[in-house]
Symmetry: C2
Subunit: 408 residues, 2 copies
């Protein structure tokens, strides 16, 4: 029986695995964590609204009934294309077909030393780290006798005004203005300053300019200070420097750049600037019809096809790679991947969002309710959906965020 | 206005703080974490049934309406009794009255090198560490080619058959036999071996012998191998040694001993074997009527009074210390602390528990339902109660445990 190895249990890898459920194949899904992560809600973990278990489910559990799959917790370190082997920390796997869906991490555009002071958001560990620094900043301000230092603890900067940056900044503003109000004795959390810093001329540059303008208005209404055309010049432990000013600031979050997994470089030499692998129209690696590269790790830009780095695109690519393997087993030829764009959302805060659904543009309350419904429906597993709803309903009415936990 | 400093936001410290809500005092509550922890359910976090936020609530949030309290996130390193000062990592506080409720950690009875291989359960970090080692053990067994090594990954040992040890062993057996069944391809999790190792002659030695016998029977029915009269001789990364046998075993959890906080030694020289401070009948430190020591850090044994290290005792002591401060402010004399024992529970697993409620002895299903009701009622905060109920109801019907998350 042919052996398919799938690297990565995100949207691309998991959807590919499921799409091969009825194929007469042996499948091994390798991930370095034990869970599938619902990444669109990761910012809620970073901002203490949800717990890790609310947006993650064990891959083994999701796939327990799919008997042709073995799930393996391990980290892929290399791929030997000539021997058709995947090399992991704790062993190797021989494959007949390989699907690489290893995703992406943050990029600092040559400023890797900023990483320490301005963490990005890709994993549950990243989110828990952000949550701890945010909560500790308010605690440090509360016990700080020096007023200027306290003020620098109460300034939060989010770099990059894409969907993640907008979500983080909007939620931070809400936490400072509502959640923590009245809980401190020496500081007034409502006077915290949340900066959203963007190098380009508008927020949500990937969306329609009208929606960008609406998002900007909604952000300002929530109390976020938006700085446009402001490329970051420097970041250290105590300040952030923009063109013409250095602001004392102790908490900086990075939402400005994405770099594909280092496995991209293992697969081919001509990765693009973001480390993505240029693939054939059927998503296979040029010269290797047995290897498919999907999700954030792949690019079709050289074919003039633009596929955004979002969950629906990864799922569609996972389905397509699986279909190509089934076709090949049946002796049929490959077909090109076509991205179907059903629209996009960006949430900003309580009752604040924008949406572009196949040309229908929505903003504010309506967009927000649609965003909420879509995300609850897509969360994997009944339990998660119900608990997330309970958490959200309770947050909505009380402005509380239940996961405000800092350990030592 | 007099200043009361309270060290520790556990049951003792939090109840003392609340009992001083209407007193004309300034109160500072210092804790090294930002939350109150519902410790009786900590084993549920260690065994992936609940998330940290389900059993913890920010102290600031709990006390937001009590205007005479300042909550401070800091770690107390020393106490200067002559200057009446508490010394912390980030500052000092002068007090007129001091309540020390710093709790306890685990003790290895002179075998501190076991700590690395056999972690204990006191904090959320401990619980998350245990959860990760448990989940990783099954993953390691799944990918291990050597059958004997795989077997050692599937042997779990819990040392100490007090309430925590019994809860951990019972839940581990349930996870292996039900939760993980059918999710692995190379191993059969139901063949995992859970050992409960006790140096003394019976489990739950603090309870009635009839209940101990019932608990033993219920543990065996759940599939736990109980070893009585088996003091541990040695623990290393790959094995545990009991009298007469060395068992290959990769996961050992410690529930055998408790040592009071090192602040005990700072307060007095004659702490007992467990590091607890012998206090006066009114819970004050001998020679220092302005200092009270409560909870797991205090002992009244030298007065012939036995107070168990449980949450209700800590709450009662917190209330008493607060009452003593109020009496002193009003010019009244101190009164002795009296422990009211309303009974005790020990849960073992699904539908398995024992209870001794003021002499009425219950076992099995009835004890379990009472345990469940009592713990849900006592959980702080409406949201937690509801989410915990949803989680439990869903676990109950599906045997699933939602917090099965391992990060890298």
């Amino acid at each position: 029986m042919k052996h398919v190895v799938i690297i990565g249990g995100g949207f691309g890898g998991l959807w590919a695995t499921r799409a091969l459920a009825r194929a007469n194949l042996k499948i091994t899904l390798v991930d370095r964590t034990n869970h599938h992560l619902f990444q669109p809600l990761l910012y809620q973990v970073a901002t203490a609204g949800l717990s890790p278990a609310d947006i993650a489910a064990p891959l083994r559990h999701i796939l327990r009934r799919q008997k042709n799959v073995t799930v393996r917790l391990d980290e892929v370190t290399s791929i030997d294309k000539s021997q058709r082997q995947v090399i992991m920390r704790d062993g190797t796997l021989r494959y007949d077909y390989l699907i690489v869906a290893a995703g992406a991490a943050h990029a600092y555009f040559g400023h890797d030393h900023w990483a320490k002071h301005a963490p990005g958001l890709k994993t549950l560990d990243d989110a828990l780290g952000m949550r701890a620094t945010m909560l500790r900043a308010f605690e440090a301000a509360e016990r700080e006798p020096d007023v200027d230092v306290a003020k620098s603890w109460l300034r939060f900067a989010v770099v990059g005004a894409g969907p993640t940056g907008v979500e983080l900044a909007g939620t931070l503003a809400e936490i400072a203005r509502h959640t923590l109000r009245r809980e401190f004795r020496n500081i007034d959390p409502t006077r915290a300053e949340v900066l959203l810093i963007e190098a380009g001329p508008r927020v949500l540059a990937g969306m329609d300019p009208g929606l960008s303008a609406s998002a900007l208005k909604q952000l300002r209404k929530l109390g976020v200070s938006v700085r446009l055309n402001a490329p970051v010049q420097a970041i250290d432990a105590e300040s952030i420097t923009l063109p013409g000013e250095t602001l004392p600031c102790r908490t900086v979050w990075w939402a400005a750049g994405v770099a594909a997994s280092p496995l991209g470089k293992v697969l081919c030499e001509n990765t693009d600037r973001a480390g993505r692998v240029p693939v054939e129209r059927d998503l296979s690696l040029p010269g290797h019809p047995e290897i498919f590269v999907i999700g954030d790790l792949a690019t079709l830009a050289h074919h003039g096809v633009s596929v955004p780095g979002v969950a629906p695109a990864a799922k569609q690519m996972g389905n397509h790679a699986a279909a190509m393997i089934r076709r090949r087993l049946a002796g049929n030829v490959a077909t090109p991947f076509r991205y179907r764009d059903y629209g996009s959302f960006a949430t900003i805060g309580r009752m604040a969002a924008v949406a572009d659904l196949a040309g229908i543009k929505l903003r504010g309350v309506v967009a927000w309710w649609l965003w909420l419904a879509a995300h609850v429906i897509f969360l994997i597993g009944f339990r998660n959906r119900l608990v997330v709803l309970v958490n959200w309903a309770s947050s909505y009415f009380t402005y509380q965020r239940h996961a405000r936990i800092v350990s030592r």
